[in-house]
Amino acid sequence: MAKHETPLLDQLESGPWPSFVSDLKQEAEARAKNEKGIDYQIPVDVCDDLLGVLELSFKHGRTHWKHGGIVGVFGYGGGVIGRYCDQPQMFPGVAHFHTMRVNQPAGKFYTTEYLKQLCDLWDLRGSGLTNMHGSTGDIILLGTTTPQLEEIFFELTHNMNQDLGGSGSNLRTPSDCVGQARCEWSCYDTQALCHDLTVEYQDELHRPAFPYKFKFKFDGCPNCCVASIARADISFIGTWRDDIKIDQEAVAAYVGGEVPPNGGAHSGRDWGPFDIQKEVIGLCPTECMWLEGGKLMIDDRECTRCMHCISVMPRALRIGDDRGCSILVGAKAPILDGAQMGSLLVPFIKVEEPYDEIKEVIESIWDYWMEEGKNRERLGELMKRQGFQRLLEMTNIKAAPQHVQEPRHNPYIFWKEEEVEGGFGRDVDEFRKHHQR
C-alpha cells in the first residue's frame, strides 16, 4: 500500500512509454521490503515522500523545493547541490534531498562491477535514485542528507577512484563523445583530451571563481554527438584539412544497391532504391560534389565538413588524414538573450599531447572572462556585449575569413590608430596641395 495517494502522477504511467513514476514506485517498494537487508542511512520512505511532494506540487501548481545551500564536501565548492523540501512535516523522507554530481569517465565507459558498486553505495547512503546521465553528462545521484555527504565522498574517492563533478560557478564536468574508441570518424582522441583537461583544471572544477558556469565539450567530428556546438562555452569539434578519401568501387556498390546507405539505418521501411544524386550530391550544402563518368568527384576546397555524404556512404567516403579540431566558443541555453550557437574562434588546431596550444587558448579566454564578465554572465553573452573583435584581441588570435559569419552584414570597419600607417594625424599643407577648401 503506497504511503501517499498519487492520482495525478498515476496518470503519467498510462501510455506505451516508460514512466519515471513507475520507476519511483518500484524503488519505494523495494526499499520497504528491503530483501537485501540493507542498513539504510537515510529515511526508508524517501521515494514514497518524493512521490508525495511531487503530487502536491502538481495539485498546487507550484514547487515545494527550496534549492541551494552551504552543503558540500570540505574544500569543494561544487559537486553537491543542496535541496530541501518546504513541507518537511508532511514529507520527512525528503526534508533533505541533496543532489550529488559525479564526474563520469571519459566516453562513459563503465565496468559492471563499477556500476554495481555505485548502486550499492547509493542504496545504502542515498535514495537509490540516479540519473544516468544528467544533461551535462555526469552521473547524478539524487537525494541524500547532509551527514551522508562526506561519507559518500570518502567512499567514491578512496574506494572507487572517482571524483565529484562540477556545479555552480565552476568549470562543469567536461564531457565527450565516444571518440576513437569506437568511431572511425573521430578526428582526434576525444577521451584523451577530455581526461587531460579534466585533470589539468581540477582547481577550476572544484573551487568556484568564475562569473558563472563554464562548459567544455568534445566532439570527434562535425556530427557533434554531444552537441558541443549548441551547449558548450568552448567546444572542440574534430575536423580535417586535407581531402575526403574516396573509394570509387564502394561508391559504385552503393549506387548499385549492394551496400545499404546510412550503414543500414532507416531500414524499417522500403525507401526505394538509393539515389546518389538526390540523397547525397543534391543535399551537399556547398554543392561541391558531382558525378563524372560514374565517378564521384569532390571539390574539397569548397567542402565545409558537414559530414552528410560520409554519414550516408561510410564505406565509400572517409575523413581526411590531416586531422585536428576546430574550437568554437560562446554557446549557451536561452536564459538571457535567447539560445546561442558557438562561434568559430580557431578554425584548425592540431590535437597533440601535451595540448599546450589548446590550453593557451583556454586560459586566455578565462583571463578575459574572469576580469570582464559580469556576475552570472556567460562567455557568449560577454562576446555579444563587447563584440567578437574584443575576444580576438584578448586571445591574441588574428582575424581570419572563417570568423566572418556573413559578408557585408556590417559596413563599418573600425581601425585603431596603431593599425594605420602614419597614425591618424596628417599634413594639412600636403593635403591642400591636391584639394581646395
Binding site: I70, G72, G77, G78, I81, A209, F210, R376
Partner: protein, 78 residues
Amino acid sequence: MEYEEAKEKIVAGLSKKKSKTKFYFNDLAKILGEKPRAAKKFITQMVQEEILEYWSSGSTSLYGLKGVGKQAHAEHED
C-alpha cells in the same frame, strides 16, 4: 599582498555589509583589489581555514563568512 593582510581586508569588508551575507567571487576580488587569479589563491586558503564558506544555488556559487546568515541556522549547520 600578504595572506594576513588579505584576510583582514576580506573579514572587515564582509562584516561591514549588513544587508547581505553572501557575495560573488568578483565582490571579494574587488575588496582585495587583486586580479581574479591572485584573489582566488587567498580566497581558497580562507575556505580551507574555515573563515569563508561556499554557498551554491546549484547554478551559481557565492561566498560568505562561515556561519553568518539565515541559512546556516536553518540547515542546522552553524
